[in-house]
């Protein structure tokens, strides 16, 4: 490689390193603000103000979903397997909403420590399989 090309190569590598470094600085400055939601444990630790609009997320606890028969009101518990958060919601739930599935809710805390959600989003996991396989796996476990 001739000297001029070598020089250009060094310049490009410097540009790339600079750009990576800048990106890394931005990312580390944003740090946890890059997270979409808080886990129940983080909410408990943070001592949040009741009127702050936040997103909370975790898994829907098995057997915790109570649907009102006369309205769209629903109460369920979100857990990160360390702490729980009780969620109140009135509205239509997404198709993937189920026990033991991930959810992200947006809303604010009530005075009693429960959470008043204005939006419930279902989180999909990375698993894909046909219904027959899912049935077999359930029988195995």
């Amino acid at each position: 490689m001739n000297p001029i090309r070598k020089q250009r190569l060094y310049a490009l590598v410097a540009i790339l390193i600079g750009s990576l470094l800048a990106t890394w600085l931005v990312i580390s400055a944003l740090s946890e603000n890059m997270n979409l939601f808080y886990s129940p444990t983080e909410i408990k630790v943070a001592q949040l103000n009741e009127n702050t609009l936040i997103r909370a997320g975790g898994m829907v606890k098995t057997g915790s979903i109570i649907k009102d028969t006369n309205s769209l009101n629903v109460v369920f518990t979100v857990t990160d397997y360390q702490n729980d958060l009780k969620i109140n919601y009135e509205g239509i739930l997404p198709d993937l909403f189920a026990e033991n599935a991930g959810v992200v809710v947006r809303g604010n805390l009530n005075t009693d420590g429960s959470f008043k959600a204005i939006e419930v989003l279902a989180k999909h996991d990375e698993n894909y399989m046909p219904p027959e396989v899912a049935k077999l796996m359930q029988e195995d476990s």
Binding site: S19, D95, V104, D125, M129, P130, K135
Partner: protein, 247 residues
Amino acid sequence: MIKKWLIEMGSPPLFYKWSTKTLPWLFISAILILGIGLSWGLLFAPTDYKQGDVYRILYIHVPSAILGQSIFMFMAFCGFINVIWRAKISGMMLKSAAPIGVSFTLLALVTGSIWGKPTWGTWWVWDARLTSTLILFFIYAALIGLHSTIEDKTKADRAVSILSIVGLAIIPVIKKSVDWWQTLHQPSTFTITSSPSMSPDMYQPLLLCLVGFYLFFALLLTLNLRNEILERERTRNWVKQLLGVSS
């Protein structure tokens, strides 16, 4: 031998003539594999236990998202060659690849949004994966915009080359966003360290779709590049001869 071939392909007229011969084969293989992959995935692959048929959009969403990022890396690679060796064709390639890359990225964003509404319950959410992909889309737009504002094509190529190398830093962020932060977007189904968490009769058509998308990209790139070559070399004798214009 490979070196000789590479140098030959670096010459616009030789590439043009070579691509005239290979284009029909590329066309047939791209259409064939994409056709088989998509119809296999969309019509014959089993339904998902949780999502039902709506998951099938991944046969378009996943390849277009991968292509959106691969094409960017390809462009940065071209930019690298262009800056260091000043090979004319690498600049043309860079310019020809940009509109294809931005289209695939947009397709990934749109199909993801269409999938998100029934499964997540929202069209859009500002999580790390979605936001970083949107940034990639804007970088593509900036590359295309920058190229068109500089009159001198050689200088435009050089500027876009450098910007594409600067932009390269977004690629690892997109890739790792689902692992570094809590996102609504699910983590990768396919990883190097573990077996895919998708059943084989679902990922086999996906792999075929991916190959088909790459071939389709190669086809579009060749077509774009041929146009670019003709436009930039229009005053040269070989183009005049080719088009039957008397000089």
